[in-house]
């Protein structure tokens, strides 16, 4: 298996007591598959992604990427963050080339590469801008270009459009479809927006409330680009919504 | 496991301090590398401290008399400085015409350190309490105004809109929205100014005084009594820290909800 999530459990311990967040989470992802994790807020989606990224330690279980156990952060996985997290003191170019630069790749090579990804996400002409000058949608485009530019095997996207307005969000969803058709990658995409999930996914994994486990999986084989208003789309939306336990 | 680690660094801190005192002791008392007038040994500092509690040599006052004299001056200047600085800072930030007229003058005056006023204040007020308090006043006034001003200016505009929608008058918004939400800044200002007061006090006492901690270390220097200079410096540091602690205590009492 390409990416294997093997029986992950996670409990946060603090003075206030134990908080069991993930329980027996177990699934596999094929190479170049676009998997969406869909679940209610605060159910541990970010925690799961952080464990796969190596930024958070699991309480038990294992993550394997191409049969190698994941223990710490590394450039074979890239994260696009819920709160974007650009380096504010670097320009767009500086942010995108950060990964290759840290690994000591020659300037001419890495900048040519970075330029390609900047063009791909549609930011041509903004290379020298600082993040403060960009809109939310443009910032997240930089985040996506930065992630792709470190040539990861797996893209981990944690509600990347959660902070955007609805209109920009639709636009960015189309962009993701376009970009991932162009750059074939294994993607694990987290969202709490059902339309976004159906629009993007090859497969949707639905999580339960805390402590979350996998509730159900759906394989989505609608042709792309998908139509939010098609009958099949609406039926899936109806079905998946009905099983998710949104709580207050 | 975690607790053990904390202890490890505590131990490093303690060892460093001990080594420091030991080296100090060795280079002074044992090897005598420095003349007594430059660097006293740590034990002589300690004994001077004990002695100075009751002795009036060489400056005509015991340690407590100097502390008391300094505190009176510093607190007088501080209270007046804060008392004037608060309303000035608030009205500069809240009323545009005041801002226009006062801000440039203030921006210029604030670059002049309080110490530079000493000759003028001594001509105006003599070298008694009022001249020294005036010097402290300048530093405290500037520190208070700067922080209060930026605090009020940063009052969340949303709060102000909400207050306006509910029909509050300008003065009322100031009293019930702007000042409370600027309280943390105001206290920062009070803390910064307290540091300024203490600094200004020492400066004033070095230049013109007959009592006080600044005067005490100045006289000690004239007599080449480095041990007393260090006793004085430590006392100045401790008193400054105590005043800050007292203010922080008040702050915690007042700024509870923020």
């Amino acid at each position: 298996m390409f990416l294997k999530i093997d029986n992950i459990n996670k409990t946060f311990t603090s003075e206030a007591g134990n908080n069991e967040v993930l329980k027996n989470v177990h699934f596999d992802i094929k190479e170049n598959e676009f998997v969406v994790i869909f679940g209610p807020g605060q159910c541990g989606k970010s925690t799961l992604l952080n464990i796969i990224a190596g930024l958070e330690k699991e309480s038990s279980g294992n993550v394997y990427l191409e049969d190698k156990k994941v223990t710490k952060p590394g450039p074979d996985r890239a994260v696009v963050y819920q709160n974007i997290l650009l380096f504010p003191w670097l320009t767009v170019m500086g942010n995108v080339e950060f990964g290759p630069k840290s690994r000591g790749i020659k300037k001419s090579i890495r900048q040519k590469d970075a330029q390609e990804y900047i063009d791909l996400v549609g930011l041509n002409g903004f290379e020298k801008s600082f993040p403060v000058k960009l809109s939310g949608g443009m910032k997240q485009r930089v985040g996506i270009a930065r992630a792709y530019c470190s040539k990861p095997k797996v893209m981990l996207m944690d509600e990347p459009f959660g902070a955007l307005d609805a209109q920009t969000r639709y636009l960015m969803q189309e962009e993701v479809v376009r970009i991932s058709a162009h750059e074939k990658r294994t993607v694990l995409f987290v969202t709490n927006n059902i339309e976004e999930a159906i629009y993007l996914a090859d497969r949707i994994i639905v999580m339960t409330n805390c402590p979350s486990t996998i509730q159900k999986e759906y394989v989505i084989d609608l042709p792309r680009p998908r139509d939010y208003t098609s009958e099949e789309f609406l039926r899936l939306r109806q079905e998946i919504s009905s099983i998710v336990e949104f709580t207050r | 496991m975690k607790r053990l680690k904390i202890n490890k660094f505590r131990v490093i801190s303690a060892v460093t301090l001990c080594v420091f005192v030991l080296v100090w002791y060795l280079v002074t008392a044992v090897f005598g590398l420095f003349p007594k007038t430059m660097l006293p040994s740590p034990d002589s500092v300690f004994f001077s401290f004990i002695k100075k509690l009751t002795s009036t040599v060489p400056d005509g006052g015991t340690l407590f008399e100097h502390i008391f004299a300094s505190l009176v001056v510093a607190l007088t200047g501080y209270v007046i400085g804060v008392g004037v600085g608060l309303p000035v800072g608030i009205s500069m930030a809240w009323f545009r015409p005041v801002d226009h007229f006062v801000r440039p003058v203030f921006d210029f005056l604030r670059t002049i350190p309080g110490i530079a006023w000493i000759p003028i204040f001594t001509v105006w007020l003599g070298i008694g309490l009022s001249a020294k308090a005036a010097i402290i006043f300048v530093g405290v006034f500037v520190g208070t105004v700067v922080n209060v001003y930026s605090g009020i200016k940063q009052t969340n505009e949303v709060h102000i809109w909400v207050a306006q929608i509910f029909g509050a008058s300008k003065i009322e918004i100031l009293k019930r929205v702007a000042i409370p939400s600027a309280l943390p800044y105001i206290f920062t200002g009070l803390r910064v100014s307290l540091g300024m007061a203490w600094l200004g006090l020492i400066a004033a006492e070095l230049l013109a005084a007959q009592k006080g901690l600044g005067y005490m270390i100045q006289v000690a220097r004239n007599f080449g009594r480095s041990d007393l200079v260090i006793v004085g410096m430590i006392t100045i540091g401790i008193m400054g820290a105590l005043l800050t602690l007292a203010l922080e205590f008040v702050e915690r009492r007042v700024v509870k909800g923020i």
Binding site: W89 | L206, R221
Partner: protein
Amino acid sequence: MSDRKEKTFWAVVSLSLLTIVWFFASQMESMKTLLPNPVDVFKFLVAGAISPIGQHNIWGHILWSLSRVFVGYTLAAVCGIVIGSAMAWTKVGEAIIKPFYLLLRPIPSIAWIPLAILWFGIDEKSKYFIIFIGTLLIIMTNVYDGVRSVDKNLLGAARMLGAKENQLFFKVVLPSAVPQIFSGLQVGLGAAWATMVAAEMIRSSEGAGWIIIMGQNSVNMVQIYAGIILIGVVGLFLVTAMRFLEAKLCAWNIRGK
């Protein structure tokens, strides 16, 4: 831009008003000995720019003062950034440095003057030292806070992109602390200037502080006021220069305006 024009306009209006009030106040009988005529002060400054007061003309005195500040301040800035970083970024560094930092911080810079004179005599070295020690602790405090408040998630992001542990400090921590370090450098420069004035007033034979104290010794109110204005103007110039530098260096930071 018009905002700036408006500001300049009001600055001119209010400073002129201040001068006018000062002028009329100085004409009052009761103020004779306390407040000199601003015209005399202005004349004094113009004359002093050409012919010497004491050993130097005004430019010479300013140069002396600035050179003292420059030496003490530069040394303090370099040491403050290095020591502050070591204290904030490494646990051992914190354990070793912090006790001394906590002990020295509450002692105001000026309280070091007598000890500095005992240590270094009354020549330049003691002034450098006083300016150094006063500025050092201010800069250290800001560096410490700046390094400490680095966004942990940003560190995670850098690790994720393949930055090694030894790259993190220079590539993420230090740049993210730059605005705070800069505000420390700014406050520090103000403090260095003030400390310098104090040091010169207590012991020196030239410099801006000396002009004031000589004015006092020769009961020359005009000279005292001229000295104070000079100190204010140079201080204002230093602050403006720092702001300009900050705008250049921290262009990425909105707060850096």
